[in-house]
């Protein structure tokens, strides 16, 4: 009886599934009606070496004469043409008749047989087969069959990086009861692999590639169709901007896993690591996705794990902090969704990567480089690009966060467990600025010019407000949280200047702030783990009992206040230099924040490390200096901070070309 209990419903469910499958198939077959039918074989061609020649067969499989117009080759991206095909004049094909065409792959530079980032194109065959998907001019009676052409791609490196953490989730969930400590190892391994791949990728990355060189200046491109009849594509790629962010994300996540050792194993540890890995997928995906739909999906996927990570493993007011974070970010992102849809419907007709014609596109590169939204009719009396720009800006500004949309940040940071704070400050805040560069700057340059001054004001307000409020904090973690608000203001100011130096400074500030704040949160967490308090007034003289801790703490805070010789200085000084020509008065005002920043950082160092030791913590702190695990998370970051402080060239050269491209976009709207 019992076994029947399980089998019968299973069988029934199976039959439901099979019926649904039948439905789908019958719906597909029901659509076939007689007429002229074009079949192209093969449907896609991949070329492996220069000069290669392949054959395409055109066949009429229908019942009527198929009329074919002159064929042509279309190239995706901004590069020079690399594919050529035999010309075919307008002709008619009898039912069953075939024509063969030759397609050649002739990259221009003989030394670099494959364009960096790969080449994508399609052979377009206009005809009167009205069952083909897409129609460039509806009602015109012309339909287009296509053969996708592409140069052979390397291994799907970006897909591996983005989705590798997903592989770890089943393993973590399958860890047997009683052996929960294994979950940490699995999580460490599954986050270490993307970091390794990201390091390898950045070694292969060619920083000289610009927009004119290949596929919009992107490298490691993966570009495939996704949904029939809907122009979303699986489009991943990196330029100098995103490759640094991918590296930062992969690095910070490994550090965060290291910091998660302090989460008790009894506290649903499987769920914790599973969510952390899911979060990493979302973050990496946002930086790699170049199809707007895909970008939005990754953007939203981050919300769920973040909500639970703060809500389940957070501090005393975790419910409040978690839901506040969730509501704020969702409110921003739904507006972004509308803006994406509005851009989509305003975009020009083009082709998908496989050559299917489409009336509109989600391709962020085509939106940026092949569309001009200035002429769109206004919405409710507001200029179209500006209102769309504002919608995107609000979504990203909540993430940055820009004062006055920042109020979720202190709550989320204070309540979140250390590892989540590290990710939040190290990566999530950067997404806001990344989004502004990728979308507001490059897709809506006109509106960016219009809003630049406002951006600068918001940036300076954030710098000053964040610094002033941080100065008033008595809770160390809150202080660090507000210092983030202040530091992200630098990015905004650098961005608003629209000068090469300003933009470079903003990107450098993003990367350096990510590593420095991660250190600061790790240090706060280490102290909290030992004393269970973060009140500044409770500490003092920690340097006497924990010398190693004090060293790293001093280093992190000095880097954060912008001490020359440490990485924090680079971004700040570049931002100031870049912004000064554009906004002189504002930049001078902003410089005030340097003084305030120095004041509260030094006061924090003084209150925690120096002065008389609070004897209350002797049992908790003395003899408990940084252990090996904590050192393993802090030292790599410290090395990066010091090295980039003296030798920022690797970071700056990586982003130079992309910054130039961004500025071209803004300069020539």
């Amino acid at each position: 009886m019992k076994s029947q209990n399980r089998v019968v419903p299973g069988l029934l469910a199976l039959s439901i599934c099979s019926t649904l499958a039948t439905l789908t198939i019958s719906a597909g077959s029901a659509a076939a009606t007689p007429g002229p039918r074009l079949r192209l074989e093969p449907a896609a061609l991949t070329f492996t070496h220069a000069g290669e020649v392949r054959e395409v067969t055109l066949r009429n499989t229908g019942t009527n004469v198929l009329r074919i117009g002159s064929t042509r080759v279309w190239h995706d991206g901004s590069g020079v043409p690399v594919f050529t095909a035999d010309p075919l004049e307008a002709t008619g094909l009898l039912p069953g008749q075939t024509v063969a065409l030759h397609v050649r792959f002739v990259p221009t530079a003989a030394t670099a047989p494959l364009p960096p980032g790969g080449a994508f194109g399609a052979l377009l065959v206009p005809c009167d087969d009205d069952t083909l998907p897409g129609d460039p001019n509806p009602g015109g009676g012309a339909y287009i069959g296509s053969v996708a052409l592409r140069s052979s791609q390397g291994p799907p490196l970006l897909s591996l990086i983005v989705f590798f953490p997903l592989l770890g989730i089943p393993f973590i969930l399958l860890v047997p009861r009683g052996r929960e400590s294994l979950t940490r190892i699995v999580a460490l391994v599954t986050t270490a692999v993307p970091l390794g791949l990201a390091l390898w990728m950045i070694r292969q990355f060619d920083p000289t590639v610009t927009r004119t060189a290949g596929t919009w200046g992107l490298q490691f491109v993966e570009h495939h169709g996704w949904i029939r009849g809907f122009p979303v594509e699986y489009f991943l790629g990196v330029d100098g901007l995103s490759v640094t962010m991918v590296l930062l994300t992969a690095l910070i996540t490994v550090i965060a896993v290291g910091a998660s050792w302090s989460i008790p194993l009894t506290q649903h540890i499987r769920g914790y690591f599973a969510l952390l890995l899911l979060l990493e997928v979302g973050m990496l995906g946002v930086f790699c996705a170049l199809d707007f739909f895909l970008f939005y999906m990754f953007w939203e996927v981050m919300l769920l794990p973040m909500y639970f990570l703060i809500g389940i493993w957070g501090g005393p007011r975790k419910e409040y902090a978690a839901i506040k974070f969730f509501l704020y970010t969702l409110a921003g992102s739904v507006l972004m969704l509308l803006a994406i849809i509005a851009l989509y419907y305003s975009s020009k007709a083009t082709y998908l990567v496989d050559g299917t014609p489409t009336a509109h596109t989600f391709d962020m590169m085509k939106l940026a480089w092949a569309n001009d939204f200035g002429a769109e009719s206004p919405i409710a009396g507001f200029a179209f690009p500006r209102i769309v720009w504002l919608a995107f800006f609000v979504a990203f500004a909540i993430k940055v966060p820009v004062v006055p949309l920042h109020t979720w940040l202190p709550d989320a940071h204070v309540e979140a467990p250390t590892a989540v704070s590290v990710i939040l400050a190290g990566v999530l805040l950067k997404m806001g600025v990344y989004g502004m560069m990728r979308v507001n700057l490059s897709i809506l340059p006109e509106a960016t010019h219009w809003a630049a001054q406002g951006l600068a004001v918001l940036g300076v307000v954030g710098m000053l407000y964040g610094a002033l409020v941080a100065m008033a904090q008595t809770d160390l973690k809150r202080l660090v949280a507000y210092s983030s608000v202040s530091h992200m203001g630098y990015c905004l100011l650098g961005l608003s200047a629209l000068t090469p130096t300003g933009l470079t400074g903003a990107v450098a500030q993003m990367f350096n702030h990510g590593t420095i704040t991660a250190m600061m949160f790790l240090l706060v967490g280490a102290l909290y783990d030992r004393t269970h308090t973060r009140e500044l007034s409770q500490f003092g003289g920690v340097a006497h009992v924990m010398p190693r801790y004090a060293t790293v703490f001093g280093l992190a805070f000095m880097a954060s206040l912008g001490l020359p010789g440490l990485s924090g200085f680079i971004g700040e000084v570049l931002v100031f230099i870049g912004a000064f020509p554009a906004w002189q008065a504002l930049t001078i005002t902003a410089a005030l924040s340097v003084i305030i920043t120095a004041a509260y950082h030094l006061s924090a160092i003084e209150k925690v490390l120096l002065g008389p030791f609070n004897e209350r913590w002797r049992s908790a702190l003395a003899g408990f200096d940084l252990d090996l695990r904590e050192a393993a998370t802090l030292v790599p970051l410290a090395i990066i901070v010091i090295v980039l402080g003296f030798w920022p060239a690797p970071l700056l050269t990586t982003i130079t070309a992309t910054v130039q491209d961004l500025l071209t976009a803004v300069a020539t709207p």
Binding site: T22, S26, G229, E300, G311, I323, L330, L338, Y345
Partner: protein, 496 residues
């Protein structure tokens, strides 16, 4: 082509199978021995599957008109038949182990009758899906209403259930009356009940009477899909009705209502100046849709009973779908169909989770779900996915559905529909933020407020486990790869 009576039956195989199933079940209940719940369930389930298969196998891309123009057989109608039948099949399974529909602990009470009523309701949804004449539309609507009234009051000895049924009857009667008045006006305009003829007549008719008739008809359809101000029955009925019945009501009659709405107004509004662009009709639809989603979401904020909360949420969801109707055009209709299909999986999953919790002795209040994530991990996971999908978060199918709806609105606004469409689109997305707040309350209860609750694992009935998984897999899969559903929807909308 229009077919006479006898040749029409060839295209009515699914409905005939359902009728056979109903008769078999009625016969079973008349047999002297108390009928087994299993046998009755098996008959009903098989009838449902057979009807589903028959619908799929006899589907033709060429639309046909049956019974001298009373019924249409096209892919559009077939799509809604799939929705109704799939829903019914799942509900039959869920009801096998539900305490409040047919109480399996209490000598399998009235199982054959319950399933017969359920199959009749499915048949009624089929009629609504295929109706091409006001007469069949009304018969289908009333059949589904009467079945719903009885099913809602099915819990034996429950005052709540009886009150729900009564409220349903009273509100339903008023709505039907208003709709009949509207239909009589349409008949007066066209001297025919055939929808196509009415559509032609409305094209030349003066604007005001057509608008008046359309608004009155909207009352009847609006009652079935539970839009403001015809939603008053919804929370009471959803809360009071047996949970499997609530699951059924939240999907199948709604789908039927939208099928009628699209068909009737699709026929009329194409030509009629009373319902054309920039007419008050569009404003009525937009206002009703916006009010519905806003009111549903705001009222849900304070609910403590999960079934009631889901009832208000389903009102809000109906508002979203109505946006697609208002947006109109191919994009709007495809969005409606897509969202309804997705909503089927989501809503059924949520209510099945409620039924599974009730089956293991849990209550219906949100507070009693505390710690569910650790007591019943599968149920809590499925419910979470369903709630995320209702909010419209990727990577669930709920996001794709919402995307199509919003995109239809923006497209209409972009193509000269005016600023109203943009404003309503903004209202709609902000509404989904509001909805997150109360969905998150449930999530919080299940996963976060777990300190006081017991973490002892509780077993879930096998049939519920199977249904929960079978509903959640498509919810996620269709969120990542929705080509199959999109093709089905595209074919359905393309045929008429």
């Amino acid at each position: 082509m229009t077919l006479a009576n006898l040749p029409s039956f060839r295209h009515l195989v699914p409905e005939n199978i359902l009728v056979l199933g109903i008769l078999a079940l009625v016969g079973l209940s008349l047999a002297r021995r108390p009928a087994s719940r299993r046998l009755a369930g098996a008959i009903a389930f098989l009838a449902c599957l057979a009807a589903l298969a028959a619908t799929a196998l006899t589907a033709e891309s060429q639309p046909r008109v049956l019974f001298h123009g009373l019924l249409a057989r096209d892919l559009f109608g077939d799509f809604f038949k799939y929705l109704g039948l799939v829903t019914t099949a799942f509900v039959i399974l869920v009801a096998q182990r539900s305490r409040d529909a047919i109480d399996y602990r209490n000598e399998d009470r009235e199982a054959p009758e319950f399933y017969a009523l359920l199959l009749s309701a499915a048949l009624a949804v089929n009629l609504m899906a295929a109706a091409s004449d006001l007469l069949t539309a009304y018969v289908g609507l009333e059949l589904v209403s009467v079945m719903s009234y009885i099913l809602a009051g099915f819990t034996p000895g429950s005052r709540r259930s009886a009150e729900a049924a009564l409220k349903y009857v009273v509100y339903g009667g008023v709505a039907s009356g208003a709709m009949l008045y509207g239909m009589s006006l349409l008949y007066g305009l066209a001297a025919s009940t055939d929808l196509a003829t009415i559509g032609r007549a409305a094209a030349t008719a003066p604007a005001l009477p057509v608008l008046f008739a359309a608004v009155l008809c909207l009352a009847g359809f609006g009652f079935k899909i539970a839009v403001v101000p015809f939603h008053m029955w919804c929370p009471d009925v959803y809360e009071g009705a047996p949970t499997p019945v609530t699951a059924f009501l939240s999907v199948a009659p709604k789908a039927g209502g939208f099928a009628l709405l699209l068909r009737v107004f699709g026929q009329i509004s194409g030509h009629a100046q009373g319902l054309a662009d920039r007419s008050p009709w569009l404003l009525v639809l937009l206002v009703v849709a916006a009010t519905t989603m806003t009111w549903g979401n705001l009222a849900a904020l304070g609910q403590q009973n999960l079934k009631r909360l889901l009832a208000y949420s389903s009102i809000a969801q109906a508002g979203y779908v109505l946006l697609g109707v208002a947006a109109g055009g191919v994009a709007g209709q495809e969005a409606v169909l897509f969202y309804l299909a997705v909503y089927l999986f989501i809503s059924l999953a949520a209510f099945t989770a409620v039924a599974a919790v009730a089956d293991s002795g849990g209550g219906e209040s949100v507070a009693e779900y505390a710690g569910l994530g650790y007591r019943m991990p599968l149920v809590a996971f499925v419910l979470s996915v369903a709630l995320f999908a209702l909010t419209g978060l990727p990577p669930t199918a709920g996001f794709i559905g919402k995307y199509y709806l919003f995109a239809a609105l923006i497209e209409r606004g972009h193509n000269g529909g005016g600023a109203a469409f943009y404003i309503v689109a903004v209202a709609a997305v902000l509404n989904s933020v509001v909805s997150l707040y109360y969905y998150a309350r449930v999530l919080r209860a299940m996963y976060i407020d777990s300190a006081s609750a017991t973490h002892q694992t509780v077993a879930v009935a096998a049939v519920h486990r199977v249904v929960l998984v079978a509903l959640t897999v498509p919810t996620i899969l269709l969120g990542v790869y929705w080509s199959p559903l999109r093709d089905l929807v595209h074919a359905a909308v393309g045929t008429w």
